[in-house]
């Protein structure tokens, strides 16, 4: 008998251990992620990056291999994991020298904690970033005005479609908001789903339409203020945006809530669905032989009185303040930012990215990219994307609110009230 009680106690202890292990799940990641670890030689440079798609990854590998001033260890980590571990990378004692991430408020928040290396030297004199646009310089500067980020590429958002499909259905890209609605009606009448989207494991895709409708109805200035917490999500201005969004709901694929961003491109590729508001990364979701067939138009103007605006998320690199090779970090950043590197990366990555360097010869890029450059050069305002203009925490509240709204548009007011409450929680913390 006594033997049995001991067994039970052991079991209890085992239970506690396992319970503790589940707690631990929250604490993992204390291990420094920077592989390579060979800190012995001073010339070692580690580049921690979150590139996952095959072609861009191969392009970066080729680029890094050709780096003339030393050996670079390239660690590629899945984006989700990278996001979760980024703080640890930057705080660790032998932090990776250079890391890929986003410009804007995200980089700025790390700079505020003193975790990023000052890279102003690259932005001065004949530094590789000196000729970049003022918009990029502003995006890459911290609160005190010094640069902490090196943007190397950016992309744009638009309504993507297949030229051959539009021809087959006898329709054309719309130039006004009324035409856009008429186009959706026309396509619906032909039994084609006008709009696709993928909101299952990528619920943030719902913010694409929200951002654009807000930019078109209330303008970029209001949009930025809203994301900074200066307006409420249940204000009449946002209600007006949601009313526009509501008018689009009948046009969306009924399976949108089950698709991922990638799945959602399939019906477009199969000519079952017509249009997809997305970033240019969508082009890589199409079969290779269809990529030349893809075209896009900008979301048409809704309110004439607000300046035109487009979303152009900016990617690039920053350097850790805690690494032991600042010299090497700056060398690598200068190399990655150079005109030739950007040109090579964009050509080899086969995605529709735009160079940040004005000296890159874009004449050999595809007509789609030319059109994207034209779009961003003529727009009056540029924003990035919901999470990049605010924070990942606010993005989570948007994901909940917008997917709920799309599933149950009747409770829009209630959903907006809940959104505002959740957003207040984010701004308070």
């Amino acid at each position: 008998m006594s033997k049995r009680t001991i067994t039970r106690r052991e079991l209890l202890a085992g239970g506690m251990t396992l319970g503790a292990a589940s707690l631990l799940a929250a604490c993992v990641g204390t291990t420094p992620g920077g592989g390579g670890g060979g800190g012995a030689s001073t010339g070692a440079i580690t580049l921690q990056n979150s590139i996952q798609d095959a072609d861009p990854k191969a392009a970066l590998e080729a680029l890094v291999k050709a780096f003339p001033d030393g050996e670079v260890t390239l660690n590629s980590v899945a984006t989700e994991q990278f996001r979760a571990q980024l703080t640890n990378y930057l705080r660790s004692g032998d932090s990776p020298e250079v890391l890929s991430w986003y410009a804007g408020s995200v980089a700025r928040s790390y700079a505020e904690e003193g975790l990023l290396l000052d890279v102003s030297s690259l932005w001065q004199g004949d530094g590789p970033c000196a000729g970049y646009s003022d918009a990029l310089r502003a995006l890459s500067s911290d609160a005190s005005g010094k640069q902490i980020f090196v943007p190397t590429s950016y992309y744009w958002w638009g309504v993507f479609y297949k030229k051959s499909a539009f021809e087959k259905w006898g329709v054309e890209a719309p130039t006004s908001w009324d035409e856009f609605h008429a186009l959706c009606e026309n396509l619906s009448g032909q039994g084609i789903v006008p709009l696709t989207n993928g909101l299952s494991s990528t619920p943030w895709m719902a913010s694409g339409w929200f951002d654009y409708l807000n930019l078109r109805v209330n303008g970029a200035q209001y949009h930025r203020e809203l994301l900074a917490g200066e307006h409420a999500f249940n204000d009449p201005e946002v209600v007006a945006v949601m009313e526009e969004y509501k008018r689009l709901i009948p046009y969306f694929d009924k399976n949108a809530a089950s698709y991922t961003a990638q799945d959602a491109a399939t019906p477009v590729a199969q000519d079952k669905s017509a249009m997809y508001l997305s970033g240019t990364f969508v082009t890589t979701y199409f079969p290779e032989d269809q990529r030349d067939d893809i075209d896009f138009f900008s979301v048409p103007v809704i309110n004439d009185s607000v300046p035109t605006a487009e979303e152009a998320p900016t990617d690039g690199f920053f350097a850790s303040a805690n690494s032991d090779n600042h010299e090497g970090a700056l060398d690598l950043l200068a190399y990655l930012a150079s005109t030739t590197s950007q040109q090579q990366f964009i050509e080899q990555s086969k995605s529709a990215n735009l160079p940040t360097s004005p000296d890159v010869d874009t004449s050999s890029f595809s007509p789609l990219v030319q059109k994207g450059i034209e779009l961003l050069n003529t727009t009056e305002e540029i924003t990035q994307f919901f999470n990049r203009d605010s924070s990942d925490a606010l993005q989570a509240t948007a994901d909940t609110a917008l997917t709920k709204f799309l599933a149950d548009p009747g409770s829009m007011k209630k959903t907006l009230d809940e959104w505002q409450k959740a957003a207040e929680g984010v701004f308070a913390s």
Binding site: T5, L18, S22, A84, D392, A393, V426
Partner: protein
């Protein structure tokens, strides 16, 4: 788990004394490692639960504010409710399913070995992979909706993982599909240890199959039941991967479990203090469940 003849206290003490020093060293080393890698971080997360911390700056002590916030957080309450459904649904279905399968497949018959391996097979695959597999099954144009369509049951077709009314159950079925084989193996092992002659004697005395099972076989499975209970409760409270792989807590947090919400708070939104408070709740629940069960079990045994 096998019962050994009980020994008197004095003889046991002798036996402890006879354990060579080297064995103690071997025991001590993993214990110290465990202390450092498991208990110390766990204790840390208790203290983190009393702070507000974004993972970058300094942790700011806020007392019990995190717990007060939790009580008013609609997503946390959804996650808690889902966890209760999960413990009962996942635990109940996998235990009942596993026991039924074990009893059925305990008899000799053609292809029994094949059936057993087939049912156990999903356990070999990681939860994340099962999640991906089931996502394909549940896809809008996937095999499940396809089969329903073929059978003329279009009205039952659903967006299985996007419809809040069924999404949690859809994930639960996938998790049970995997767990049931494991429970079956535990019960099969238990059934092998039962005494067949007792059942025969009961049959001779006129007990029917139902009575024989509940009065003769079940009491002999008491030890296995304890293990199954502990395994099931712990597995259901720490469920994370399959939900994350299939829905990420969506649509709009309707399939959020405490573990997924904890992960989201910790690593997506960077509220490590708040996430630790959720971890403390999970810990309290797990310990609470198990202590209650063991206390009850000990009482019935006395």
């Amino acid at each position: 788990m096998s019962a050994q003849p009980s020994t008197t206290p004095t003889r046991r003490r002798n036996r402890f004394a006879r354990v060579p020093l080297l064995v103690w060293v071997f025991l001590l080393v993993p214990f110290v490692v465990e202390l450092f890698w498991v208990f110390w971080p766990a204790a840390n997360s208790f203290s983190l639960a009393l702070t507000r911390w974004d993972g970058i700056g300094l942790a700011e002590p806020v007392g019990l504010q995190n717990f007060r916030d939790l009580a008013a957080d609609p997503i946390f309450l959804t996650a808690l409710r889902n966890n209760v459904i999960w413990v009962l649904g996942f635990g109940g279905l996998s235990v009942v399913g596993g026991l039924v399968l074990a009893v059925t497949l305990n008899k000799p018959g053609p292809l029994v070995g094949l059936y057993r391996s087939a049912i156990y097979l999903p356990m070999v695959v990681s939860l994340a992979v099962s999640g991906l597999f089931w996502r394909v099954m549940y896809a809008p144009e996937g095999p499940i909706n396809g089969t329903l369509g073929l059978l003329g049951l279009e009205s039952l077709e659903r967006q299985w993982l996007a419809d809040p009314a069924v999404a949690l159950w859809a994930v639960l079925i996938a998790a049970v599909w995997r767990q049931v084989g494991y429970i079956m193996v535990l019960y099969l092992a238990g059934l092998k240890g039962t005494d067949g002659t007792l059942e025969e004697a009961a049959a001779v005395d006129g007990a029917n199959a139902w009575q024989r099972f509940w009065r003769i076989v079940m009491p002999q499975l008491r030890g296995v039941n304890t293990v199954v209970f502990a395994v099931t409760v712990i597995d259901s409270l720490r469920t994370f991967d399959i939900v994350w792989a299939m829905t990420r807590g969506g649509p709009y947090n309707e399939t959020q479990l405490l573990s997924t919400y904890m992960f989201q708070q910790a690593f997506t939104t960077g509220n490590l203090g708040y996430a630790s408070a959720i971890a403390v709740v999970i810990f309290a629940l797990a310990i609470g469940f198990i202590i209650t069960y063991l206390a009850r079990q000990a009482r019935t045994e006395d």
